[in-house]
Amino acid sequence: MLSLIHAFGMGKGRVMEFRHTYFYSIFWPRLRRNRLALIGGSVVLALFVVSLLAPVIAPFDPSAINAYQVLSPPTWQHWFGTDELGRDVLSRVLYGSRVSLKVGFVAVGIAVSIGTVIGLVAGYFSGLVDATLMRAVDVMLCFPAFFLILAIITFLEPSIWYIMMVIGLTGWMGVARLVRAETLSIREMDYILAARCIGCSNSRIIFRHILPNAVSPVLVSATLGIAGAILTESALSFLGIGVQPPTPSWGNILTSGKDYIEFAWWLSLFPGLAILVTVLSYNLLGEGIRDALDPRVKR
């Protein structure tokens, strides 16, 4: 039924209504019953709030230097202690969430856009186009991703925008394979044939009729991808090639954590915990969405 409505473009409203109903009657109740996914989702929401309100919540200016309280262990005044310049670690960690959030979403946005388009084109046209694009995916997968990222960054000035772009440009292959597989099966459906019969152009079929039905698995890999991008950014910043000081990022706070590991455990512990909790939450949410979308999982 849906496919018919879809193909003949009868009433956009009804299709939307169907999706709306699907969301409220199947997807959302299933997701809500998954306690771990809910916890993950709540933490993710909380992180949004924290990064938006960082200037309000943070007890100190994240770059305010205090020569009298250098490397102070956690106290009532400085919950997470202070760093080698006497800056408040809690405030820096709170501000660091902004970097992670930005990197996560922009990098995954880039990766998902590239991967989706390549997957759709490869799956829809098949033949030589498909073979070429999929070999390109294989080639990209041959490069240790971290090596490729580091190599590209070497040629560019370190900046958060380049980091996001490069993480996105090196992370689209999984999405491309996923979307291609979906497209291959959707392409054979009757409503696509119907669309072709009434003279829809290839691009209209791809973007109007296949895309909406191929995106749900992408949602899962996008959520998990955000977690991966946050991890990569923190590793790059930790190595000094990512977000540059004085802008606080969880990775570059850990760099000083490494330098002062013998005197200041708090410099290493708290930013690392922030990464752990964030990545864990995105992963839990992603797995929850996967289960909620999967018709085979019964709960």
Binding site: D138, P144, L150, A227, A235, L239, L254, I261, S268
Partner: protein, 326 residues
């Protein structure tokens, strides 16, 4: 089997061409000629080095000719000379570092698989018990732990706080003059933390994968048959189910190689281990392009070879491919 092998080897050709194309693109990604960039960012590079580079990349020729010149060098394993003050050939530098990285990664792989297989089986056979749930929690946390942070924590506890393990390098200074036993013990204590960090990275994913592969196999008919004819659970799991559950793991072995090689940058840098990852990092920091590009190509080819070996092992282990025509 022969057809399969031929096909598999033929597939390598486009992949190799692709690898060189992408690396070549990366070199030319920067605005302006690579040599100009190198001069601007690294004033230490002298005039002579500049001419050598122009010649090496054939920069006075059109782009496609440059590519073929460059590929010609790569094929002969000529990766150019390092920009660093010693100016040694990149190939020699990599040759000295490669064995360290490869042996560390192989040890890490063995430990990973050695732990992940029993963990996955335990979780699958005790499905939905507290043990399975505990393992799932461990897996999720394992996915989320940044490896460099784990390295820092280990360094703090075992190196600084307890003082049990050395926190950097492969040897204690002056260990060359020690007896073999003491020398090896020294090496082993230096290796414990790096290997823990290296293997922790994929342990979570592997155990999870093993669990689902095992669950998948257990639900099949032949397992029910084995149980129905009265075999003990131990025989059913370890003899009948395990072999089939292990098959997909071989493919995973191939997939985990780029991650391992890439991860070596992090743990080698943190623990100051003189391997390829550290060389790469130093190259990146000092903008030593020949080293960076050389390792990028070598890293990709290593992955390619790793995948090939994994595929061949799979073909050999799976009778459907071994005896089939395909």
């Amino acid at each position: 089997m022969t057809t399969y092998l031929v096909k598999r080897f033929l597939m390598l050709i486009p992949l190799m061409i692709g690898i060189t194309l992408i690396t070549f693109t990366v070199i030319h990604l920067a605005p302006g000629e690579p040599v100009e960039m190198q001069m601007a960012m690294n004033p230490k590079v002298g005039k002579e080095a500049r001419e050598r580079l122009t010649k090496f990349y054939g920069l006075d020729k059109p782009l496609h000719e440059q590519y073929f010149t460059w590929v010609g060098h790569i094929v002969r394993l000529d990766l150019g000379r390092s920009f660093s003050s010693d100016g040694r050939p990149v190939v020699d530098k990599i040759k000295e570092r490669l064995p360290v990285t490869i042996s560390l990664n192989i040890i890490a792989l063995l430990i990973e698989f050695g732990l992940a297989i029993p963990i996955g089986i335990l979780a699958a056979t005790r499905r939905d018990t507290w043990l399975d749930k505990g393992i799932t929690v461990f897996v999720f946390v394992g996915f989320a732990v940044p490896t460099f942070w784990l390295a820092l924590l280990l360094m703090y506890f075992f190196g600084v706080k307890l003082g049990w393990l050395p926190i950097s390098g492969l040897h204690t200074l002056g260990s060359d003059s020690w007896g073999t036993g003491r020398y090896l013990w020294d090496l082993a204590t230096h290796l414990i933390m790096p290997i823990m960090v290296a293997s922790f990275g994929s342990l979570a994913g592997l155990s999870r994968y093993m669990r689902s592969a095992m669950l998948n196999v257990i639900s099949q008919d032949y397992i029910t048959t084995a149980r129905a004819k009265g075999l003990s659970e131990r025989v059913v799991i370890w003899k009948h189910a395990l072999r089939n559950a292990l098959l997909p793991l071989i493919t995973l072995l191939g997939f985990s190689i780029p991650g391992l090689i890439g991860g070596s940058v992090i743990f080698e840098t943190i623990f100051a281990i003189p391997g390829m990852g550290q060389l790469f990092y130093q190259g990146v920091m000092s903008r030593d392009y020949p080293v960076v590009m050389g390792i990028l190509v070598i890293g990709a080819f290593l992955t390619l070879i790793g995948n090939l070996i994994a595929d061949l092992c799979y073909a050999f282990a799976d009778p459907r491919i071994r005896h089939g025509e395909g």
